[in-house]
Structures are given as C-alpha cells and as structure tokens.
C-alpha cells in the first residue's frame, strides 16, 4: 500500500528505493519560530507556537541536528565500551545522543503517554508542522534532508519558509506510520457526525 498517495497528493519526498523493512517512515516539515530558539526567546510573543510529541524510539533524525547527533552517538558508544545498549535506565544510546544534541529544537518531554512506558520527545516552538512524506518502507540509516525533496517538495519548503518571520525549517524523520502518539484511547470517540458543523 502506498500510503503517501492516499494522504498527500503530490510526492514531496523522494524516498530511497532500498528499504530494509516495512515498519514505515514519516517525514514532517517543522516550522520553528526562530525568535524563540535563541537567547531572545523571552521577547517573543507567547501562545503562538505549538509542539509535536512522539515516542523516543520513533526518532530517526532531524536534519538540523543530524551531524551533532551522530557524533554524540559515536561518542557515547566509545564511552560505554562494548555495552552500546543503555546509557541511562530509560534511553538508548541513540536516543540519549539525540536528547544531548537536540536543544533548542528537540528534547525529552516531561509529559508522558498514558499507554506507553517510553519517554516522549518533543519538538517545541513550532509555528506549524506538515506531514510531507509517508511510506510503508523503513531504512537502515536514512533521514530526510532538503536534498531528498522533490521539485514539488522544494517549492513547498520555500513557500512555507517565507510566510512568517524568523522561520527556521526542520525535516523530522520518524519510524512507523501510525500516529505520533498512540491514538487507541481516541478511537472509541470517533463519532463523525453527519451534520455540516461537526
């Protein structure tokens, strides 16, 4: 099933052809409020941003922090010798490296999910977020960068970048195709009304 064709009309992301599995992959275009990322964030208007939450094990990469993330991951592995699995009691080395290098774009949330024992990551200070690519294929070590955007994707990227001031764009690659947090508690509430308003 090609989910992207059902959800997104134009192909915006040029996914690699050599997948390694079928867990699926999502790419989100994150629109950060740039003035809230630096030291001057206190001067920025409040209540104009939102955030995305997702389970830590879904995180593959954010183009803005990818290189630091990979370096830090290698560093942690070196530090931990032959024990690359857990650096802390609840984060893998890969997740810990992401958390160590994510600020101000990404960190571990203090929020938790009722039906998940894993920590949530959060991308804060967003003017918005767009799902721009989704596939049922998963990859060994691929994360989306601007070079992986199609012509339509590049055009959309540029269009979004120019709308609001001080915009910083990020490309977030996650594994899995299901919602960013499990929606199981929501499902029984899906009662789409037949009225025009609801």
């Amino acid at each position: 099933m090609n989910t992207s064709l059902q959800l997104i009309r134009e192909q915006l992301v040029d996914f690699p052809t050599d997948g390694i599995g079928h867990d699926g992959t999502q790419v989100w275009l994150l629109v950060y409020a740039g003035q809230m990322l630096g030291d001057g964030w206190a001067d920025a208007p409040s209540d104009i941003t939102t955030q995305l939450l997702f389970s830590a094990e879904r995180f593959i990469g954010l183009d803005l922090t990818w290189e630091q993330h990979q370096r830090r991951h290698a560093e942690i592995l070196r530090e931990s010798g032959t024990d690359p699995v857990l650096r802390t009691y609840y984060l893998t080395a890969y997740e810990q490296a992401a958390a160590d290098t994510g600020c101000p774009y990404l960190w571990i949330s203090t929020m938790t999910h009722r039906h998940s024992t894993r920590p949530l990551m959060v991308t804060p200070h967003l003017y918005g977020a767009f799902l721009i690519g989704i596939t049922t294929i998963s990859y060994a070590n691929w994360h989306c960068t601007t070079r992986d955007l199609t012509e339509h994707g590049q055009a959309f990227y540029e269009r979004v970048r120019q709308i609001l001031p001080s915009t910083v764009l990020g490309l977030l690659t996650l594994r899995g195709t299901e919602p960013l947090v499990p929606t199981e508690p929501l499902v029984p509430l899906v009662l789409k009304s037949g009225t025009n308003d609801a």
């Binding site: 918005g128 308003d197 609801a198």
Partner: protein, 156 residues
Amino acid sequence: MRREDSYAGFLNPPDRVPDKGERVWLFVRAPTDTVGAIVVEPYDMIGTDRTYEAERAAYDALAHGLLFDEYQEQIERIRASLFVPNSIFQSERECFFDGMVSRPILAVFLMGALEKRYHEQVYTYDDLTDDGKAFYDFIKTLYPGSELYLATALET
C-alpha cells in the same frame, strides 16, 4: 507590535475590536485516525470556522437557561470532530492536563497572530488575504480527503 510588523501573516481582518489579541491556526484533520499527529487545542480557543454557528447556538441556549454542564457537553460534542478531552498526556506527577487535544492531524499552521483583536467572531476563509486563500486552497488540494479547520484563539 503593529500589524504590519509581521505576524498578520495570512489574515485580512475586518475593523478592529478593542480587546486582547488573537491567533488563527489552520488544522488539517486526517481522513483516518490511523495516521497523523495529536496536538493540543490552542489555548483560549473561541471556536473554529466549521463549528462556530453550532457553538453560538449552544451559547444562546446557555443565555436562555441551559445548565452550564449541559452547555459544556454540547460544546464538546460540537467540537468532537477535531478536538476531544485529553486522556492520554499526563504530567510528571501523572496528572492529566485539563485540556483538549486534537484528533490525528496531517498539518497544523499558524495563519497569523495579532496583538489586537480585529474580529468579534471567528476567522473564516473569507477573512484570509489572497495569499492566505491561495495557501489554504493549496493545502486542501495537497491533502485529499482531509478536512480543514480555521481555529481562532485569543492572544493572552
């Protein structure tokens, strides 16, 4: 912040109403609950373009004697196509925050934020600038089968 300073974004508001500021968010509701992101309802949301008339009718009923609990139930029911009470996110103390969260969405975007309030009701498609309408139309085309909502919230 003057309007022309920046955040007006895609908004083309009518004459100013002396009150606090306002923000307008575009939500793209996924055609299915099996994919997408769940985000928190905008703080101090007035309503959405697609639910406003029904919400106003509920408010009129409140003004004419409807019990507040019943009014709240009506509002929840009216908004249930996009927002539902939070029962999934909890704080470190394992308390659920007292708010609403969205059903899975494919996109969310701030269409504009103004320091003053320019609109007595909620923003609709007609209140967008030409560029805003073009962007809205593009997003609608980009996500076939999805439903778009414009949510208006007060600036605090």
